[in-house]
Symmetry: C2
DNA sequence: CTGAAAGCGCTTACAG
DNA sequence: CTGAAAGCGCTTACAG
């Protein structure tokens, strides 16, 4: 039923080879013939079959993105960025939400490359998955890690400097006038958690502020954890003047708790989050935060992967991006008495 | 380099036809031969090439999802649900964020099916795109509309009853004791806006409450629009006792404004939103809302599309799902004086 | 139950 | 500049 390359060739009065050449913009086609082919294509409303092209060429023009979830604004932003970058290249995106089931051999994400459905894979995950990485390496399949670097296994990656982000966030609190600064950090399994924490500590030390273990508490990137810990600090009477929250969700919880106990933000409690959640600038008080370069993360990831696929780059490449501080109402200035 | 079906056949001492049969679980293979093939597959770590299978079979095992954005929790939930449903079927998802550029012939989303990259397409969009629908129809390509129905063009769809949602939301406000109930509706371009509005009006009428045009205001599904309109109502001294917001974003804006003007929620102002945003249950006061059956929307969409692809269903099918009221703090009970 | 042959719709040397 | 032939890696009647 659908028209194929032979129909076009017949209609144009040339061979399929010539049609193929026109399709692929080969320069060595006589102008006259090119025109005949173009006309036939238009008349027949012909569109080449990508599956056949993929088989013949040995590449599909599709890229896989493996990510744990899309309910996190950071993940969603990178996803959108990756899709946009691929679209600009005329490529397609196959998404696989599969943080967990990677261990199974026939996992969706493993099939993705083992069955040659895509030309390369982007892995956006704060968690390491050695089984997947090894499988990729064993098959010599092009892949790039996003927001994660890996020391054990040679792998190209694009990451964001979490130490820098943690340092700058804390620094902005110090600049606002705070001396006692708490930090609610994220889940321990993520590397970013330790890196942001280290940045926090170093910023304090650089300003001769001793690290107070009582003002360090483990959150889990949820509103509730921010709420609970802040409430606890308030009740125990050790609420600091400022809090650096592991992410904006946590920060929203901190604000929620402060409001409940009628503690003025930022006058009595300054807060800075991380990620620049869509709500950060929209709710009151507007939340200061650390914006991650998600657009660039996605774009650079696609560029790097493309180079790996085309073979332009052979060796492992690492790109480190810097996050950006965004100051809003929640860190305006501390009332220091 | 990668091992193919001929390598397996040779190793197993059978023909590729037999290998293919084992791969496709054909019953007519002698147990002995099946075992030899299985062993060879395991030894060689063979995985069939999906591209070649697609070409030979005429189907790819991939489905496309076209959606405008992933930054909306409703969209994100449906996306996740679709991916899960496809995964369960062993199929893959190609995502295309393309609400706008559908008009162009070589748009990413059009190439998706014109180039036979997917077996069917799911369109999740509150906006009509006749050009795309017609193109799909013309090519006789299987597709299902999600959260949208179309009267002009015959198309299968899975939708959610917005009239019912609007009616129930308003009804819950009446039940809570409110008489003067405002409604901040969504963007006019969406059909859901008019449907929810109609549900709102009918609920009022059914309780002998006249519709007050002054308490109807156009929002645009943003926090800001909810904030601005509520503020205006407060300043003009016409703030109603309760507000049905077009979605949770709008509702968050309403709460934000109420807080700013120190109007107690829900005592002085009851609020119900729509969508059950992840934050709805986490911030204080917890927001009452209308939860859409996103999981089922995605699952049913995939099922319907599968039936269309396999040819089990030929004619246009419409499935209408009901949303569910979720009552929380923001509508607890009105202080009616 | 098994396999030789043809076919899916393209692209790519190769020869002219 | 052009096309006949082979090949990409599978599946599917068809004959045995």
């Amino acid at each position: 039923m659908p028209v194929n390359i032979y129909d076009v060739a017949k209609k144009a009065g040339v061979s399929v080879v010539t049609v193929s050449r026109v399709l692929n913009n080969s320069p060595k086609v006589r102008a006259n013939n090119r025109q005949k082919v173009l006309t036939a294509i238009a008349d027949l409303d012909y569109q080449p079959n990508a599956v056949a092209q993929s088989l013949a060429r040995g590449s599909t023009g599709m890229v896989g993105l493996i990510l744990p979830t899309v309910f996190d604004p950071f993940m969603a932003q990178v996803l959108a960025s990756v899709e946009g970058a691929l679209r600009d290249k005329g490529m397609f995106l196959v998404t696989s939400f599969a943080a967990d089931d990677l261990q199974f051999g026939k996992a969706n994400s493993v099939r993705l490359f083992r069955e040659n459905r895509v030309d390369g894979i982007l892995i956006l995950s704060p968690l390491k998955n050695d089984a997947l990485f090894l499988e990729l390496k064993k098959n010599n399949f092009p892949f790039v890690l996003l927001d994660q670097h890996h020391s054990h296994i040679q792998a190209s990656s694009v990451t964001v400097d979490n130490y820098y982000g943690g340092y700058q966030a804390t620094n902005s609190l110090i600049t606002a006038g705070a001396k006692r600064i708490g930090h609610i950090f994220g889940s321990g399994v993520y590397e970013s958690t330790a890196e942001r924490l280290n940045g926090y500590k170093q910023a304090l030390l650089d300003h001769n502020i001793a690290v107070d273990e009582a003002l360090l508490a483990p959150g889990d990137f949820t509103i509730y954890s921010g709420y609970k810990i802040t409430k606890e600090w308030i009740i125990r009477g050790i609420l600091p003047q400022a809090i650096f929250a592991a992410d904006d969700n946590t920060a929203f919880g901190v604000i929620d708790a402060a409001r409940k106990f009628r503690i003025a933000v930022p006058e009595k409690l300054a807060i800075i989050g991380y990620d620049d959640h869509p709500f950060a600038s929209l709710l009151h008080p507007a939340l200061s935060t650390v914006r991650q370069p998600t657009e660039e993360l996605g774009r650079q990831g696609v560029e790097l992967l493309s180079s790996l696929i085309s073979g332009k780059i052979k060796r492992t490449t690492t790109i480190i991006l810097k996050p950006e501080i965004v100051l809003r109402e929640s860190t305006l200035s501390i009332n220091n008495c």
